[in-house]
Assembly symmetry: none
Homo-oligomer: 209 residues x 4
């Protein structure tokens, strides 16, 4: 590609990213209901029609937002390093599990994107291709936990089962936290999550799984 085309492509990419940023901002402050094309355009300093130069539909924006969020999730999980001088699989499990839990704990709306959206747009939105991409990246983010569980001696099926349970536990806590329900129990979501991981390790040590 000639330099000029490269430059223009870069500019387009930047503008597209700016639209996406605007969309994320709107989404974060107004939620899915308020994230209309008009609102996104306003936040991006565009007229509504201009948005369609960068995304072919509103749902394509959501899809891009979700894909991008999952990339950041994976990056956060990858970057998480277990503590200690000689970290073993137990430490790895703790580190990787905390990584994804904290990611969503810090960015609660992105959990919405992942789940809330999925069910809200079933008919038209979320093409099966995008759905698979979502699954893949989600799996990828949980893979380190599953690997650590296997390294701790769990059979593959057991590792998968416990990963699922771990994920569900975290998601449940995040949801309670996000909706304010956790406050009513006077609990702290992160503490509970950590306790779950510790309990899981204990059960494995005791060969209870």
């Amino acid at each position: 590609m000639p330099a000029k085309a490269l430059r223009q492509q870069a500019m387009t990419d930047v503008r597209r990213a700016l639209v996406l940023d605007a969309a994320r901002t709107v989404f974060e402050s107004l939620g899915i209901e308020g994230a209309s094309i008009r609102e996104i355009a306003r936040a991006a300093g565009y007229t509504p029609g201009a948005i369609y130069s960068y995304f072919e539909s509103k749902e394509a924006i959501y899809g891009a937002l979700l894909a991008e969020s999952l990339e950041r999730l994976n990056a956060a999980v990858s970057a998480a390093e277990p503590l200690g001088d000689a970290p073993g699989p137990a430490e790895r499990l703790e580190a990787k599990a905390s990584a994804w839990f904290n990611f969503y704990s810090d960015n609660p709306r992105e959990l919405d994107l992942g789940f809330y959206l999925v069910q809200g747009m079933q008919p038209r939105g979320l093409t099966s291709q995008l759905n698979e991409q979502l699954n893949d990246r989600l799996h990828a983010a949980l893979q380190p936990c599953e690997d650590a569980l296997q390294a701790l001696g769990l059979a593959p099926e057991a590792a998968l089962r416990e990963t699922t349970a771990l994920f569900a536990h975290g998601v449940g806590l995040l949801l309670l936290k996000h909706t304010g329900r956790i406050r009513m129990f006077g609990q702290d979501a992160t503490l509970l999550f950590d306790a779950y991981v510790i309990g899981l390790l204990e059960r494995i040590r005791q060969d209870l799984i």
Copy 2:
């Protein structure tokens, strides 16, 4: 209140209940997106305007629906009886926990109402009064579990903590199930929930909590 007013009030209550029934029916079949005032009115045999005689806004309907759903949840939990000739607290925990889990597993849309809605609604949608009512009734539905945990020897704080965790675990599994994410892990939500309860009982028996 004079007899006439009482009679009128009774009539109003009945009609309000009919509207609410219609709303639940619509909500169950069309979900939150399709549950428009028009649709609810049609299902109730009313015109849209009439709905406003009973509810001041669309979101008030949702709120009432939620309150009513929580009543049914509590009824389901109350009705659940532990199995065996001489059921102890462990059996009680299993029975009561399964009761609320199955309630939402069987009526997934009602979980939407409880959580999904809470965050999507406008400030006026979920008044703090309604919010407290929600909390109370939710607490009430979980109280039998908490009691059983205490009967099993847990300190009050520990019992509350474990109830919270139990609830979160169930909610997480239900969410994964409802959004179809559980399929991708090849797991069954109910089995995982039962396993969690068994694991919890085991930890208590071992004095690990």
Copy 3:
């Protein structure tokens, strides 16, 4: 139906008719391109949304307009009486053919509705049901001509063929007139149409058909 319902139905019908009138007015002055819901609503003194109380879509309006136009066409044809003391089939042919030709000559946009629309909306508009209705009513308007031709001694197939040709001739002349092309030939559409009918009668008299 009770009196009240009847009265209200009547009111609704009147309002619907007013919307349809507005639509026809807009259609006549702005053509098919300019006949938007917004414009129709404005002409009817409504907001756009109100139109949907009377018609479920823009194309339903066109359909109703067309149906109504065809009714008026048929009424015009029915009302046309042959001249002379003892009018025979020849006079009947002249009268009935002139009736439909003049109808469209006087209301050129309605020919648009009948043809122009048909091809413009093929994909979505014009349900096959409406299409059949159109065909039926069009046939009905031409039936008197066909009957007269048979009464003049033509075999059924010949009568149908000549009716088709007669219709095509008229339509062609109307189109030339409507688009201003006829002026360039310095001719008058009605004279040419009458001449065609006379020629047709002459051919029949000579057994040339």
Copy 4:
């Protein structure tokens, strides 16, 4: 004009022709509704803005398309040769009339351009200059028919009148064919057109005109 300017003019003409080709292609496959500037530009390998270097508006493109179509019509008519060893005016009439009828029968969209468009376009779309050009070229295409009619003995006025009627007849048949209306009569447009020409010749032979 200096050589350089000439060369540039030639280049411009070529590119303009390419755009026009693209427009025709799009128009043929997508019809008037789908023939957007975007689509034409895409087909021509240009961006939308570039089109405006060659045509000042979308309707100018249609105008040019129409002009070009009329050139091809005239070419088709010119190329048509009467059959037989010693073809007379009757054969010439048949050949020339069939030529233009078949041209539009084979390219029905171009009839749209000629008529359909004329009435739909904004005032500025069809400038009076273009309108005259249209008339001239249309006249030219029909001139051979008119000449043949005169050669058959018709007075000039009669020849013009019959040419007009012939044209109207053909146009009517083409419209019925194009909109699918002819099917409902179970007739074939070309057969009917040929019959009309034969009938016309017969009338002339009988001095009925």
